[in-house]
Symmetry: C2
Subunit: 297 residues, 2 copies
């Protein structure tokens, strides 16, 4: 008989939560259309031919469309000059049909991702990666929040009755996940610790976390004994590994089988954080559209 | 014989470090004037008659002038309508003689501090409190950094050979000090923890800190047994207390006499962080002026 750990009630059902969020967005899009005769529109810009990026962009477009919104794709050649990309963004900023603009990262090396991201008008920056939205998040002013940490926050709020006073440990300090995640958790009243590549005792730090969010890009980094018994674990990592028989599977930054007996709640990979990211993009696009179409409300 | 704790080499001489920084600013102002025939200019705006704010503003103006820069004071009545204040800021934003604008906080209740702060052009926001500079700090993009946490960082870098990998604990999560401090320490490669009013075991958290920055506004909160032996302690707090004989003295958020034997390095109050804040304002004004007057360099 194989060991079959009891996952009852432990798994955070990101897929289901994302599905319900997407359904709510769809309902709200329809209501917005009835009130304003207008639809939210999302423009997605892809430069170059990175296969993973192509898949992401395609999925975003399909999901946007399925949620009842307008979806616009701009696929530019690898060689696109920066000036041309900035011109496109300027036109999208002016376009009243477009409420959200997303430039898929990473960009080809000759393009400056900071300059390009900051060229997006803050009220259309649905990835929340520009300096104005980063500042609003830091200062606690309403704004557009990066999709992946926003999704993690939603998973936590669905799982735990109250985050205030809990010690949240974030492993990873990227602009995309770790830093905005820390700011969101601080806004929720958590005590927040951030660890990263230079952290000397990552295991000790992680084990302090009532909440542990892992976004390091190092698969299986977080072992069972890194987890405080009863902690809630959010695994942002996602790496495709070969199984040796030509098949592959997706794994996270947390050694899931070891973590499962320790954690009170844990996200699976896949099916945890992943589905929330696109759902939060739809959510952000709807919010941006509502602010544009019904500024007073 | 009174107990006379050995402070040799332990006290972080904020006064002396601020003095040297101010001298460097003065020298650079003079060199800038020789290269460009222009002087940095700082506009300080005070609304209302708060006595403490009047003292701060006066000190800032005097120090600015002493550093060889132009200093402009705008003292408006308590009843100033928001529109009028925003108009003044708009004029200062356009004024080529002005390189830095500071609106003294707190503002009277009828004025929105977020709106007012964000009205300052980001390249003139020498207090670093607007959303664009907050975002740049969060994202690691060069910008203007709030003066008090910038001063704390300078004290730490004068005191410790290398911050990378150290665990820095910040007590207090304000937009003015705690949050930007945490971001600066993260940028220096520290593992960073932020505690605040909702933190459940503040003593345990504080005692993890190789670096402990305290900015809670609660005098004497941090006792001796909150300090990791050998830690470097930065006390941002400053409260005036009555001594009972009609005299007063300034005290910090750290119980200094208890902390002294525990810490390897500690800032006194007064004479620690305080003098750095104005020196960093001069530093920021010079940086803003250099970027405006010599944009290519």
């Amino acid at each position: 008989m194989t060991h079959d750990p009891d996952t009852t009630g432990k798994l955070i059902d990101g897929k289901g939560i994302a599905h319900r969020l997407t359904d709510r967005v769809k309902t709200e899009v329809e209501a917005l259309r009835e009130r304003t005769q207008r639809l939210p529109g999302l423009a997605v810009v892809l430069v170059g031919n990175d296969p993973a990026s192509e898949v992401y962009v395609k999925n975003k477009a399909i999901q946007t469309h399925r949620a009842g919104m307008r979806s616009f794709m701009h696929m530019l050649p690898e060689s696109t000059p920066q000036e041309e990309l900035l011109d496109l963004i300027a036109r999208l900023n002016e376009d009243a049909q477009i409420h959200g603009i997303l430039v898929q990262l990473p960009l080809p090396r000759h393009l400056d991702p900071i300059l390009v991201t900051n060229a997006i008008a803050p009220h259309k920056d649905v990835d929340g990666l520009g300096e104005v939205n980063a500042g609003r998040l830091s200062l606690g002013i309403p704004g557009l929040v990066p999709c992946t940490p926003l999704g993690c926050k939603m998973l936590l709020k669905e799982t735990l009755p109250n985050l205030r006073g809990l010690h949240a440990v974030v492993m990873g300090a990227s602009n995309l996940v770790g830093k905005p995640m820390a700011q969101l958790l601080l806004s929720e009243g958590c005590t927040v610790s951030v660890g990263h590549i230079d952290t000397r005792n990552p295991k000790d730090l992680a084990r302090d976390g009532d909440i542990l969010v892992v976004a390091t890009g190092k698969r299986g980094l977080v072992r069972g004994d890194w987890i405080k018994p009863g902690a809630t674990v959010i695994d942002v990592g996602i790496t495709r590994v070969a199984l040796g028989d030509g098949k592959t599977k997706l794994v996270g930054d947390v050694a899931f089988e070891e973590a499962l007996p320790m954690a009170a709640h844990i996200t699976p990979v896949p099916g945890g954080v992943g589905p929330m990211t696109i759902a939060c993009l739809l959510h952000n696009t709807l919010q941006a559209a509502k602010l544009a179409l019904e500024p007073g409300s």
